[in-house]
Symmetry: C2
Subunit: 384 residues, 2 copies
């Protein structure tokens, strides 16, 4: 298999399709990313509560890190001087960074937007920062990210069509500037353009076509999973998909639930990231073959069974529900550690199953089977 | 070596002495405990921030769990029904439990002491509990602890001689009752008597002699490391030591700093427990060959070097000070996880070094050498 041969360029290979669903791999100098891929989120250079060895063992080929958080702490220039983000956090696989724009909009204060970029104050200490398309790419380059994102403006939904159009067109101009700035970076890295346009089909199509004309090595779909119903999100994917080049990876940003992932893969998405498995793990919620299980629930207090005895993840297989419930109730770190591990493992196995199913032309069956497991619900309550 | 031969009884074997310092091993059906031994504290059935696999890898042969915390949550009867503490928390080595008395005194509210025992309200939910010598031993038995402690009354220092005498004599009467209650438990477990008597030498001697007459399989020294100067603690150990049987293990409860451990080993102590390595790890403090290192300090922000490149613990060897500093500043779980791991490893290696040195008759040199490392201090600040 060529996926693991060392390469010095970035490329995408489509191995099989099944309806709109696709499987293949992205090749990077840091290693291959099997698609569809779920990227665990390592916001501040750590996937909260996990050792990177564990992240690798779950099956993750790539992790995401947040430009906004890292530019504030410890600072991009500092990480560069320390040898880059891979060595800093001890992850030698590919890393994808966002542009920082989304967190600037959601976390910082005193924002001022202009054609040039955005100025804001840090949510940590109030320090003043400037962010432009060029600076975002420069920061991502200092971090050493293998896959980088253009700076874009992500509007909140719902919004007026005019507002969606203005932000989408600004994002297109920023895409051009990002692309020029990115040319200074070493070979083998990739910059993705981001499709915007709110919930307006015509704007989404305009954005996708304009970006496709710019010939990016990959395309993100942004501005979704921001509170809209799932059917709106899926409709937007269906709208955009025909206008994206077949031979480039497609990344749906910030999505989502296991069901969102399955439905988006069915519509041609190749890459995902979301804090859901990690954040839920810190809040006592486990994602399993049997659906979501809330370990805070007192019904687990006397249950000696693991979350899933057939799993090959120790967190799912080896620890009793009674113990997990106890750890959660006592707010012990180990509870967050184990449930985060279990959830990232579940997300990665969900994608591994999707890849195998697409390759064998049975993706619809796979989706039905997985959803059937969720619908049957958790195994019966332990009677003691 | 007979230390690892399965046994069905509890015994202590002295292998070598060097001055008052001793090395040997405690045999239990769950495995051997090499002495001098440091026991990591797993208060609520978890050594905070560590997997038990890691605890084992640091060299720990035994861990401590707190009866008070476990009787409140999840409850001793519940743990017994789930198969006991070993299986509940997934640690198959020996476990030592305290009596719960110390935490009743320091954490609970509305305490009422009598000859019979103590009643109190839970600090978690205000629930009402009764604790007697018999109930403490019953709880420890339900947990399945390999080494159990008699219920005692631990007075705060300083206190009057009368108060120290009253509490010590009550503890002796409770020792008798605990011993009788313990007879119901399976073979191979051990109950330790606890020497009390405050900072009054005559009371300490009276307590030690009376307990020795009762012929316990091991002896604890309680009521120290409660705020008194180190020299008071060491003087009390020297006072008590000649009155404890040579062929029984001696456990100094709740102690202490690395220096406390070295000095106490020199005075004939075999076993220790303390929250210091774990609690300090959650507060950015690392114990190393070079003394204590506070990772919050900004001087680490650009330092690419690990805490100790010669260590065989990944937490000390593989992660840069810059990264640890960053994790601590961002209050990331992984910072606590790594520093706790590093500290428990350091404590265990300190005891491993002590065992080897005593066996070779060079314990004084070992102490001097270790203290010299601390005194030289941390390796010079990174200049960039």
């Amino acid at each position: 298999m060529t996926a693991h041969t060392p390469v010095d360029t970035f490329s995408f290979t489509l191995s099989a399709t099944d309806g709109a669903a696709r499987t293949g791999f992205v090749s990077t100098p840091r290693g291959a990313i099997r698609t569809p891929a779920f990227m665990p989120v390592g916001t501040a250079a750590t996937v909260k509560g996990l050792y990177f060895d564990q992240v690798k063992q779950t099956g993750a080929d790539i992790v995401l890190a947040n430009t906004y958080h890292l530019m504030l702490r410890p600072g991009a220039e500092r990480i560069a001087k320390l040898g880059g983000l891979h060595s800093f956090m001890r992850w030698d696989g590919p890393i994808l960074t966002d542009s920082g724009g989304f967190q600037v909009m959601s976390l910082s204060s005193l924002r001022k937007m202009s054609e040039q970029g955005v100025t804001f104050r840090s949510h940590v200490d109030g320090a003043y920062f400037e962010m432009s398309p060029e600076r975002s790419v420069e920061i991502q380059g200092l971090l050493g990210a293998d896959i980088q994102m253009q700076l874009d403006e992500c509007v909140r939904l719902p919004c007026t069509d005019e507002e969606a159009a203005r932000a989408m067109r600004l994002s297109l101009r920023w895409a051009e500037r990002s692309k020029r700035a990115f040319e200074a970076q070493p070979k083998g890295r990739a910059l993705f353009g981001i499709v915007q346009g709110g919930a307006v089909p015509a704007l989404r199509v305009e954005s996708a076509r304009a970006l496709a004309d710019m010939d990016f090595p990959g395309y993100s779909i942004g501005g979704l999973a921001v509170g809209e119903p799932q059917e709106v999100m899926l409709a937007m994917i269906e709208t955009v998909e025909p206008h994206l080049p077949v031979n480039k990876p497609r990344y749906l940003m910030g999505v989502g639930t296991p069901d969102d992932l399955l439905e988006s893969v069915a519509r041609g998405i190749d890459m995902f990231d979301c804090v859901m498995p990690t954040r839920s793990g810190r809040h006592a919620l486990a994602f399993t073959r049997f659906g979501r299980i809330n370990l805070k629930n007192a019904r687990h207090a006397d249950d000696p069974r693991p979350l899933d005895e057939e799993s090959d993840c120790p967190a799912l297989r080896d620890y009793s529900r009674a113990y997990l419930h106890h750890l959660v109730r006592c707010e012990e770190m180990l509870g967050s550690m184990l449930l985060t591990w279990a959830n990232v493992h579940y997300y990665e196995q969900l994608m591994a199953g999707a890849r195998a199913a697409i390759a064998e032309g049975r993706y619809a069956d796979y989706m039905a089977q997985v959803k059937d497991g969720w619908a049957r619900g958790d195994i019966p309550v332990w009677a003691g």
